[in-house]
Amino acid sequence: MKKEKQPAAVRRKRKRSAEDWIVDILAYGIVLLLVVSILLPFMQVITISMSPASVVNKTGFHLIPTEFDFSGYRQIATDDNFWHSYLVTVLRAAAGTASGVLVTLLTAYPLAKTNLPYRKGIMMFVVFTMYFSGGMIPKYLLIKNLHLTNNFLVYILPCLITGFALIITRNFFMSLPPALEESAKIDGATNIQVLLKVYLPLSTPVMATISLWYCVHHWNAWMDNMLYVTKNSLYVLQYVIQTILANGQTADMEMMSDVIVHTETMKMAALVLSLIPIVCTYPFLQKYFVKGMMVGSVKG
């Protein structure tokens, strides 16, 4: 260690020590290993989805396609259940995200006003739900009693907003300078006008973040389908994929009396098709997700 101290004058471009090499090898090694182990499973799924059965059934690596055969995709393309569920999921994501963002903004904005009476109590009312919940069965019974089962609204209402998104949005509003509101008020703006004309245009970053969160939640949701919906025409994509993966043998699929044995290629094709929207949009939207996470790391 003493040795390192001596050439202080040439420190800026000092020679790479053994320590540098070890740190570099470890760091690059860890990151490379992670990237490879995340990509390999995707490569296998894509390969299987576009390979003929003769190749799929052979023992051996299946990471790069050697022969092409799109019968799996053709099988999925003619599966009406699959495409109908795709449509339901798109509708659900659109309606759920729009209503979720609207209600989140409406709730977060007043809670960002430090002079609003009972604000603390209302915040506690919200935060408590983030740490304590009624659990699966009471919620199931509640939804049944509200007659939301087999109703499209069951996809929207019970997961309308999350406490976490609410707090992020509120923190965002609080981070804006209060002088904005004061000057608008001096110009004679009402509270509603302040929200619509001053705060809303400024809040696009946080809106992008929370709408992406809600959208991903809705795209990936399937438990509410499994618990509350038995009507075929309301099935969502993830749930249909689950039944396809389980080879159409789950109890819920009794109505599909003609048991289709799903081939491995068809299952993988279904997975790939469900991934396409995410993989296509995610690189462009990634920064909004990350930004939101960073805001979130500031404690609420």
């Binding site: 499973p41 990936n220 993988m268 995610y282 960073m294």
Partner: protein, 317 residues
Amino acid sequence: MKTEKKKGAAAPSRKSHRGFLGNLVYYKEYYLMLIPGLLFFLVFCYGPMYGLAIAFQDYYPLKGIGGSAWVGFKHFKKLFSDPFFVSVLKNTLIISFYKILVCFPAPILLCLALNEIRHLRFKKLAQSVSYLPHFISWVVVSGIIIEFLSPSRGPINILLQELGLEPIFFVAEPRYFRGVLVISDLWKSIGWGSIVYLAAVTGVDPTLYEAAEMDGAGRVKKILHVTLPALVPIITVMFIMESGKVLNDSFEQVYNFLTPSTYQVGDVISTFVYRMGIQKMQYSFTTAVDLFKNIVSFILVMATNYMARKTNDYALW
């Protein structure tokens, strides 16, 4: 008149001279805006909490909460004499313990590794790839992982065979099932989990590194004495959040991997509640299970938070 009211709003004693109704009227726009959101929390978060009452009843759906007989702690007493529940509790705790052991430190390690990488494009690419699984549902992730671990096509099994070993059906083998849960959780969450730590690292004052270098610190020392201490607050907060999840197993994950052959090692509280409650309609008993779980989780979060506040200033509250 109006200016007078405004002055009142700024004064600290505003509550006393306007009163409850006065406040509601004065801030009516704000309270109206709050209605839909608060109604949501009331109905869909506090509603089920009211429903927890059935844990103390012999609940019959037709009679409702009002009409069912109260039985006190009968179901809670049954909990610990129920051999299934005890094994389910054990599975939950073991799996959570493994996950905390592996999946909690992994993003911190990844963050430290990413922080040492100087090729920015490679770093960006690696981050993008590592975040990707976070956006995929457990249904699809389980499909991908099960395919990847397939005895005849999975690369790991092919390598095993090349080495002259028998292929292993990881997902169906009780011995490996918990490992599959931990590794798949790691696969899905490591990249996304590292974001909060990376954010904390970017906040480190660069002069600290320069000063450390002046003092002759090599890269290992800089990691240990500059980067890691900067991460301690966020590690504490994340640990508090994690500790609350010890009993909050991931239903979405386990349900998609679980098969009858792995019940003995992989059946956790939430899958047990689903099977017994939703499918076999033992509503009261399973609600008691959930209530027990929620209370323990709540106490755990409070306790770790209390300890975090005692030892340093980085508590959640």
